[in-house]
């Protein structure tokens, strides 16, 4: 198999998908069967999945459609950023649950990407440049962080309710991180996501002026993204200034991520927008 064959969208996707699937499956079994060794193995498999995708990207897997971007490549890049954030948290907190969640989410994104590997939306040369890279890079990184803030927040809300209502921690819940750790993960993710999201939005606005003829064009994606930014600003401010901890920021982080998913899935795919990936 030549390098070009290896880097073809289908081959590189299958290769990476297999490692993602291994990490996700081993992690899930490790969680359900409560086996520490399997969970640890899943974390290293997630490292392998990240390394595999990074290597393929570095070799040029992303360049299969030099004139445009496919929805498939877009989702796979998102998976890469989610895993990057998961690895960052794993290195910081040594908790396997967020990384296993990141691997599973990455796997879902990869599976979603498979039907959309070839339909590239052509990008005019004016759209290629540092602002575009900054726009996509910063927003994807913040989305990855928001995904993990969501996971930590949702888990916090669930476990907190059990502790408050004095229910027994049985089965897999016994292996979950402590409430304080989940709150810290949520805080770090949300506090890092906000400046990155701001950077992404600002880069997008700069970039929109020459391309779409104005900064604020009323595009549905732009509207939802500004709403997400506003909510993130509220979360950022209250975490830092008002000392928000626990339930409130967890709920808001969960809501912000769900809104982002709505923006990603519904707006990008089904609505008439400048960010559309599927054009007939």
């Amino acid at each position: 198999m030549s390098l070009a064959d290896l880097l073809a969208p289908e081959t590189s996707t299958v290769l990476t998908l297999v490692v993602y699937a291994l990490a996700g499956a081993v992690g899930l079994v490790g969680m359900l069967a409560r086996r520490t060794a399997l969970r640890r193995a899943a974390c290293w498999l997630a490292v392998a999945a990240f390394a595999c995708q990074t290597l393929l990207l570095a070799l040029g897997a992303h360049a299969s459609h030099p004139d445009g971007l496919t929805l498939g490549a877009y989702l796979q890049m998102l998976a890469w950023f989610v895993l990057l954030c998961g690895l960052g948290l794993w290195a910081r907190f040594r908790q396997d649950a967020p990384l296993i969640f990141a691997a599973l989410l990455g796997l879902i994104l990869f599976l979603m990407s498979t039907p959309w590997l070839d339909d590239a939306v052509p990008l005019p040369p004016s759209l290629r440049g540092p602002f575009f890279a900054l726009h996509i890079g910063a927003l994807f990184l913040s989305l990855g962080l928001l995904a993990l803030a969501f996971a930590a927040g949702a888990l916090f809300l669930f476990l907190e309710r059990r502790i408050k209502s004095k229910q027994r921690m049985a089965g897999i819940w016994q292996d979950m991180p402590a409430l304080a750790v989940l709150d810290k993960i949520n805080a770090i993710c949300a506090l890092t996501a906000f400046p990155l999201y701001t950077l992404g939005i600002v880069a997008g606005l700069f970039w929109a002026r020459p391309v779409f003829g104005g900064t604020l064009t009323g595009d549905p994606k732009q509207v939802v993204s500004l709403l997400v930014w506003l909510l993130l600003a509220v979360l950022f401010h209250n975490r830092l200034a008002s000392g928000w901890k626990g339930r409130k920021p967890a709920r808001l982080a969960v809501f912000i991520f769900l809104l982002s998913v709505f923006s990603l899935v519904v707006v990008n795919v089904f609505m008439e927008t400048q960010h559309a990936f599927l054009r007939g």
Partner: protein
């Protein structure tokens, strides 16, 4: 040779503490004080004597003689008669004895299901039996098997998971809330046995500091010294609460001393850092409304008792799962023991085959006349190969661990009769 395993003993379920004290053998399991003297009836022995159980394990050719010898030795060591022991005794033989030992090692027979001490005590008992030269092939194998079964039960079931004491349950909850203990502080308000135990567990878990508040200053100072912490007066309570992450209350106050309205301001100064209140007092020291506040968790004595009950129920469920592991391991051990019983017959069978091969070979070689070295070697090899191949099936039959319908003794008898292993030498002659 038969190897009957017998276990006699009494424990917290069959005997009160006075009886357990009277028949304890803790002083009689050292090499120089060993309670079970060697005897023809008994080839191996082990004594396990803890505060909750005294058990003697013996191996010999006849279970009744082993039992009698164990009981006589036990009674004699405690200046009593075997009859004095009888009302409190349980006895197990063969696989039942093995299963009981595995259950004891795995802490499935303990007063507190899943407690870890018993395995250490059994290991020590085994060490002393070895030092007293009382163990042999069977007990060495059995005890090592018991240790590995205990490990298997512990890793494959959750029989030792979750706290089963109120004070430890509180610490486990604190871990679920805060994670690492070393960065957190505890406040002990009032004193009581359970509150002090909880504080002690927190200290063992590595809590950063314990501050003790008590209406009696001297008592506070004394407790603070014990927990390597600080003492504070009751008037300082509001300020001390603001500093603490975990608050254990156990005062005799008829009214709640901490209410939700007092805590709202405290939480603000703490920037909403979570707080865990453990109220062990009756009547309660902390208003139940406190649990409704964000980032505040309150458990009173009944909540903790419920946690412990649920944990115990969880352990009981897990103990049922452990039963299957025990059955499997007992079957494996029993197979090994049976193979040990059939070993002499296997050896005899092989020797007999070789002897017959040699006899027939001598006769045949005599008839054939002069042969060269290669021909001789080929015929010799053939004769031995035929003997080995004919022996293969009966040997496999003897070694069928738990697979055959018959037990090991029946199989051994059958093979010995079919191959006339017990017949006088003359009958093995030609064509045997």
């Amino acid at each position: 040779m038969r190897h009957d395993i017998v276990l006699v003993g009494l424990n917290h379920r069959t005997a009160g503490v006075d009886v357990r004290e009277r028949f304890a053998l803790a002083e009689h399991c050292q090499p120089d004080t060993w309670a079970v003297p060697p005897a023809e009836a008994l080839s191996e022995a082990l004594i396990l004597s803890t505060c909750n159980r005294v058990e003697l394990l013996g191996v010999g050719a006849d279970s009744a003689s082993v039992r009698d010898h164990l009981l006589r030795s036990w009674a004699c060591a405690r200046h009593a008669e075997p009859e004095d022991l009888a009302p409190f005794l349980y006895e197990y033989k063969g696989n039942e004895a093995v299963r009981h030992l595995f259950a004891v090692a795995s802490s499935l027979d303990s007063m507190v299901l899943g407690e870890p001490q018993i395995l250490g005590q059994l290991k020590q008992a085994y060490r002393r039996s070895v030092e007293s030269r009382a163990t042999g092939v069977i007990l060495n194998r059995l005890l090592h098997k018991a240790f590995s079964v205990a490990k298997r039960v512990r890793t494959e079931t959750a029989v030792a998971a979750n706290a089963v004491s109120i004070s430890y349950a509180a610490v486990e909850l604190a871990r679920r809330i805060f994670g690492d203990m070393p960065k957190h502080r505890a406040l002990l308000v009032g004193a009581g046995e359970m509150a002090e135990l909880a504080a002690m567990h927190l200290l063992q878990a590595g809590i950063d500091e314990i501050v003790v508040v008590n209406r009696t200053r001297e008592r506070a100072v004394e407790l603070a010294r014990r927990f390597h912490g600080r003492a504070a007066s009751f008037e300082e309570l509001p300020a001390r609460i603001a500093d603490a992450d975990i608050v254990i209350t156990s005062t005799g106050s008829p009214e709640p001393i901490i209410r939700a309205r007092d805590l709202r301001a405290v939480l603000k100064t703490r920037k909403n850092r979570p707080m865990f209140f453990i109220d062990i007092a009756v009547p309660r020291d902390i208003d139940p409304d406190v649990n409704g506040l964000d980032n505040v968790y309150l458990y009173d004595i009944d909540d903790l008792r419920e946690v412990v009950e649920e944990n115990l129920a969880g352990r009981r469920e897990e103990a049922a799962k452990a039963g299957a592991i025990l059955d499997e391991e007992v079957a494996l051990f029993s197979g090994w023991l049976e193979s040990l019983e059939s070993q002499p017959t296997v050896v005899e069978l092989v020797r007999r085959g070789e002897r017959v091969a040699e006899e027939e070979l001598a006769r045949t070689l005599k008839r054939l006349g002069p042969l060269d070295e290669n021909q001789r070697a080929a015929i010799t090899a053939m004769a031995h190969a035929i003997a080995h191949k004919l022996n293969h099936a009966p040997i496999m039959f003897l070694k069928e661990d738990g697979m055959a319908r018959e037990g090991a003794p029946a199989r051994v008898n059958l093979v010995r009769r079919v191959f006339a292993l017990d017949a006088p030498p003359g009958r093995h002659g030609r064509g045997a």
